[in-house]
């Protein structure tokens, strides 16, 4: 596979054009918004928990941005649905990056991790789960709320 095909490989294009879990949830248990002001990628994450208050029953994202940020967040939605929020709060970024499966420059890395950062903030706000040490408080250039 030449590099061109790699970066915008079919899986990524598919997630970009047909994002999984795209939309919003009214009465969400957890919600946060993230934005990269350097390029305008933005994402809103909504989570509804199961009766146990921990299992992620439904999770959706809305927003706009580059193919990498949107595709990565779409993949993330598939990855975390049905999992424990406590576990997802400490999901290693490599798990998501492996799923994306292509090498990313530092600039594009931020695009890829915007959704994950925002999801973790949503969980932190709702359940007090820890923010990862890497970026507690502020994720470099990202604006999260």
């Amino acid at each position: 596979m030449n590099e061109f095909d790699q970066m915008y490989r079919e899986v990524i294009l598919d997630h970009y054009k047909n994002p999984r879990g795209h939309g919003e949830l009214d009465d969400a248990d957890a919600h946060a918004e993230g934005q990269n002001p350097l390029c305008g990628d933005e994402v809103s994450i909504f989570v509804v928990f199961d009766e146990d208050g921990d299992t992620i029953d439904e999770v959706k994202f809305s927003g706009r941005g580059c193919a990498i940020s949107q595709a990565a967040t779409s993949m993330l939605m598939e990855m975390v649905k049905g999992r424990s929020a406590t576990e997802v709060a400490t999901l290693p970024r490599d798990e998501l990056l492996d799923e994306i499966g292509i090498p990313l420059s530092p600039v594009r890395l931020k695009c890829a991790l915007l959704g994950l950062s925002t999801l973790k903030l949503a969980l932190h706000k709702s359940k007090g789960t820890p923010l990862p040490e890497e970026w507690a408080g502020a994720s470099g250039d990202l604006e999260l709320k």
Binding site: F4, M7, Y8, P37, C39, G40, D41, A67, R108
Partner: protein, 414 residues
């Protein structure tokens, strides 16, 4: 005395002077369309740097030994070249700094802190690079002065009819503007703004970072009080630039960086400052880089600034023609005769990062982002744009490859 006739620019021939173009990017020849962010360096500059370090390098000014004399002659020789380049009346008005950003900060702090207060107005424009926006905003806040920005119209030109209203906000003390916009390429009416500034007793500060490499500068004709530019955008090394300022203003100003070399005498009770330009050159300066800067000035002057400007305009017209056929192409900025060789654009439905990435796959380098002009981006209603920019080594083939890549990006992602 021989009169230099500027011959028409031969970009392919000049390109051969730049070793970087021997590099391949992802197996393809480099198409570099980001000179607005920084320029590449010709052998002539690289050789000068090497030779200087190998034969004449020493710290300057104080040494009694031969090497120091040689180095000093090179360094001061470079200063004279840079001063002549902008037609400064006196080389001691030409301060070496670490670049345009530092030059502007120097004026904002060393002039601004002592000359601004409540009731005063600091005027910039919506078109400014952050380096000519943020320092003024900060100093205005620090001193209690009012901060205003001249707005843009839909063509990317300054709305000069807003000046009257701005003047009503208080006593205008400083007007800061970029001669050429790095984001849109707009050539701003700096002389006109300078006149208005002086009518109000204000100083005129010109950010010439984007202009100096592409457009002949004459500070006496521009009528400005300060002018800032950088070496790295005009074929010179990084880490060095210049501030030209009127002697009477510089002499009245407090120093900016303090320490070695900018002093006359240092005693426990009191220290006195050195003369211009040294008053503003504390510590060991980027000596070799300044010498490299001088070599870059020689190179660019040899090619001829008018020839460069003319050539870039031709490239611009060609680029805009070809870009008009790209589906979803949205261009920003004024007509070709009102701008330098810069094209800021978006492809509808494709994020700038993706455009730039796809182009990189084919060895084409452009910039995607806000270009350090967030206020401008807000005005345009976008978070980011793509930007292609030209210089004396740009060839039409690079523009063709840009267009091909944009077609590809649109097909793939829009």
């Amino acid at each position: 005395m021989a009169v230099k006739v500027e011959t028409k620019l031969n970009a392919s021939k000049l390109r051969a002077d730049f070793p970087i173009f021997e590099q391949e990017v992802r197996g393809k020849p480099l198409a570099y369309l980001d000179s607005a962010v920084s320029s590449h360096k010709p052998r002539q500059v690289l050789d000068k740097l090497r030779t200087f370090y190998e034969t004449s390098y020493a710290n300057v000014h104080r040494g009694v030994y031969t090497l120091s004399e040689l180095a000093t002659a090179e360094y001061e020789g470079a200063r004279e070249k840079v001063a002549r380049f902008v037609n400064a009346p006196d080389p001691r008005e030409l301060i070496f700094t670490h670049g345009a950003t530092e030059s502007i900060n120097l004026v904002a702090y060393a002039w601004g802190l002592d000359n601004l207060g409540p009731g005063d107005v600091v005027v910039v424009t919506e078109l400014e690079h952050h380096s000519n926006f943020v320092p003024w905003q900060y100093i205005a806040k620090r001193t209690g002065a009012t901060f205003k920005a001249i707005p843009l119209d839909e063509h990317g030109e300054l709305q000069l009819d807003s000046l009257e209203e701005i003047a009503r906000a208080g006593i205008v003390k400083v007007v800061a503007n970029n001669l050429v916009s790095n984001a849109l390429g707009t050539i701003n009416p700096v002389e006109r703004l300078g006149e208005w500034a002086h009518e109000h007793g204000a100083i005129m500060v010109v950010d010439a970072a984007q202009a100096a490499p592409h457009h002949a500068i004459d500070v006496q004709q521009l009528g400005c009080d300060f002018l800032a530019f950088s070496s790295h955008k005009m074929c010179g090394p990084t880490s060095v630039g210049a501030l030209w300022g009127r002697a009477e203003l510089l002499e009245a100003m407090a120093p900016f960086n303090l320490g070695g070399h900018m002093i006359r005498s240092v005693k426990l009770e009191e220290t006195t400052w050195g003369q211009l330009p040294y008053k503003f050159e504390a510590g060991t300066q980027p000596i070799a880089e300044a010498v490299g800067f001088g070599a870059a000035i020689d190179y660019v002057s040899d090619v001829g600034l008018n020839a460069i400007e003319q050539y870039e305009r031709e490239l611009l017209v060609y680029a805009l023609e070809r870009l008009a056929d790209v589906p979803g192409f949205v261009g920003y900025g004024p007509a070709p005769d009102r701008r330098a060789g810069i094209v800021s654009f978006n492809i509808e439905g494709v994020h700038p990062h993706d455009v730039a990435q796809i182009l990189d796959m084919d060895g084409v380098a452009i910039r995607a982002g806000h270009h350090c002009c967030q206020p401008l981006m807000a005005k345009l209603g976008v978070a980011a744009t793509n930007r292609a920019s030209f210089y004396l080594y740009t060839i039409p083939d690079e523009i063709d490859r840009l267009v091909e890549g944009l077609h590809k990006a649109h097909k793939l992602l829009a």
